[in-house]
Symmetry: none
Subunit: 214 residues, 4 copies
Amino acid sequence: MMLSFPTSLLNGYRNFMSGRYVDERERYRSLAEEGQKPSTLVIACSDSRSAPETIFDAGPGELFVIRNVANLVPPHEPDGHFHSTSAALEFAVQSLKVTDIVVMGHGRCGGIRAALDPNAEPLSPGNFIGRWMSLVKPAAEQIQSNDVMTPAERQTALERISIRNSLDNLRSFPDIKVREKEGKLHLHGAWFDISTGELWVMDPETRDFIRPEI
Amino acid sequence: MMLSFPTSLLNGYRNFMSGRYVDERERYRSLAEEGQKPSTLVIACSDSRSAPETIFDAGPGELFVIRNVANLVPPHEPDGHFHSTSAALEFAVQSLKVTDIVVMGHGRCGGIRAALDPNAEPLSPGNFIGRWMSLVKPAAEQIQSNDVMTPAERQTALERISIRNSLDNLRSFPDIKVREKEGKLHLHGAWFDISTGELWVMDPETRDFIRPEI
Amino acid sequence: MMLSFPTSLLNGYRNFMSGRYVDERERYRSLAEEGQKPSTLVIACSDSRSAPETIFDAGPGELFVIRNVANLVPPHEPDGHFHSTSAALEFAVQSLKVTDIVVMGHGRCGGIRAALDPNAEPLSPGNFIGRWMSLVKPAAEQIQSNDVMTPAERQTALERISIRNSLDNLRSFPDIKVREKEGKLHLHGAWFDISTGELWVMDPETRDFIRPEI
Amino acid sequence: MMLSFPTSLLNGYRNFMSGRYVDERERYRSLAEEGQKPSTLVIACSDSRSAPETIFDAGPGELFVIRNVANLVPPHEPDGHFHSTSAALEFAVQSLKVTDIVVMGHGRCGGIRAALDPNAEPLSPGNFIGRWMSLVKPAAEQIQSNDVMTPAERQTALERISIRNSLDNLRSFPDIKVREKEGKLHLHGAWFDISTGELWVMDPETRDFIRPEI
């Protein structure tokens, strides 16, 4: 039988099995037996350059991960529709009882770039991406009109603003708000510069992004 | 300044910078300059044990990744709401023009387990997770009533049925359907056994899951 | 004299005599003198691809073997008729006092496939095979109606369910039940994938089939 | 998890996988894809010393095998009961359309020995084995009273008589009788001396057992 499965993935899987898996066989097995107990949820971008497991060198069982375009969190909308991100949030917080949520943005984000482009047309009749990126529209509009910043500066700015936005939206979920107040849950922002490999972390007080000493 | 950022993540990031990043510095830089051009979209579960970059040993730039609970794809619903998964799909297909989409499920999936439990109560007033998992409800009902299979067999069955379901839903997106017919886009199913590390791949003809020779 | 005996069998026998038998001459002789004392009964399918001596690389004297279509055990029916399988069971347990009984099923089982086919006509006026496979009818009916599983998935499911069924029927034999309770007899399930050579073994607690570490 | 599966079988399976299976991987795979097409049905004893695949050095796909105590074939009895041997016969002849059926007995057969012992008590209340061996009762009675033969001679004699008996019973199945007359099916007798490794084959004309030249 001919399988059309991408050869590059099968090659990668072979590397995994003959490499990393050999060392972590027991870990996978016990994680299967006992279930996952990750303490951290990372909300990251779908971008192929911002895999949290790579950047945080995380092994199996460590990070519960949501990945969507531009690592956005929509506000709490209990309207009976399918909410991919909200459902995963709920699962992480209520079932897994994670203690930390990291919203991790990154440089050169295609979603943010599209949100900043005033001439961007809807990408498709359905325009899911346009609708999705409208989550940052109010901020984008303020930034777009700022012609003293370079395009790159505007982009980095909106990438970071959007992270703060998502942190605010996280707190619109009643359960998250309560658990954070009780000290059981901590919210964090991070921004990864894909060009230099630098990680910037949000100071929870000032909400500035700074480079932690490592 | 004291940063509350999780220490385990900072430690992991330090490993990344002193390890993998050293070798891939140029790759990150050129990916930043030229933009990402991943050929594959992987839709995987948020589960901490099923990171596609780990399982497929993928480096930066290789995989565009959506991660939500139970790696589900909702049907095409152009209703003006925020659709995290549909937006990312649209971005991958229309902007990045990926040539392959892999829906990758995995064993011991908590979302699938919840969908199979007839006594499961809504996890919260908002019940996002219940609503989200209702995407597999029709199949779950057929499997629930089957008392000659063990709970684990029912779970594996639904995990695989759900992947086929998501592949069907992918084809409800007009653009995906068209591109697949034109031979420009290929859809695949995969299932990762977190306990043994085995990868099972869906045969596109029979839709059975089999172990590829690697 | 012309013997019509199949040439392939005579050729095979010649190989046996000039090969394996040379090494095992003494073993055969002493097994003849002292009688057989196998500790294990294997109930396997008549299928030409599932010989237990091959799969378990077993030499003379090791396995007492029942082979019938689909490796089924009928329930205890002391009705005075000829019961091939029950008679062999009785001999193995009461005379040979085996300590282990393995019900070994296999993939692509023709008997199971026939049991799953709702349109299957009786194969003959006598319809022995239809009657025999009716031993799995209740389970087959639950599986047949499940249209969210592929045909191959339904088949594998029923192959495994049928093994559990046979293990239950084994326990309807009073002597087996008693000896098992006394710890003198152990019942096991196994499933052999004729396509890949994989052996799956039933976990006695969950009754799931898993791949043992070998 | 602790599996109680017999260690000797797992060890044997390991040998199989690292030995014979390596050479026959493709054969197993193609037999799985294309289905079994054995041309020969062997009806052999459950005895641990008379595995047909061993004695005829047969690989996967070659022999469809029924194994019961004393390799007996009951007469055609279409009575609606479960008939393990008759069902397997029917499957081999009608579905697989085997061209040859071999009834293979062997020396030191415990079932035959029991049938010859006039003092043998029923082995159990259910007495399946006694009932089963009553298939050779008329012959056994003639032999039992013959006190000029040694016990060993009586045993060998009944082992061979029983093979002829089973060949006669095979012909009580209408379909077998018809196919044999049409030249599409050939019936054979064989007797294996477990002590010396000798194979004796029945001359179809005289019905004597002779040693074929090999």
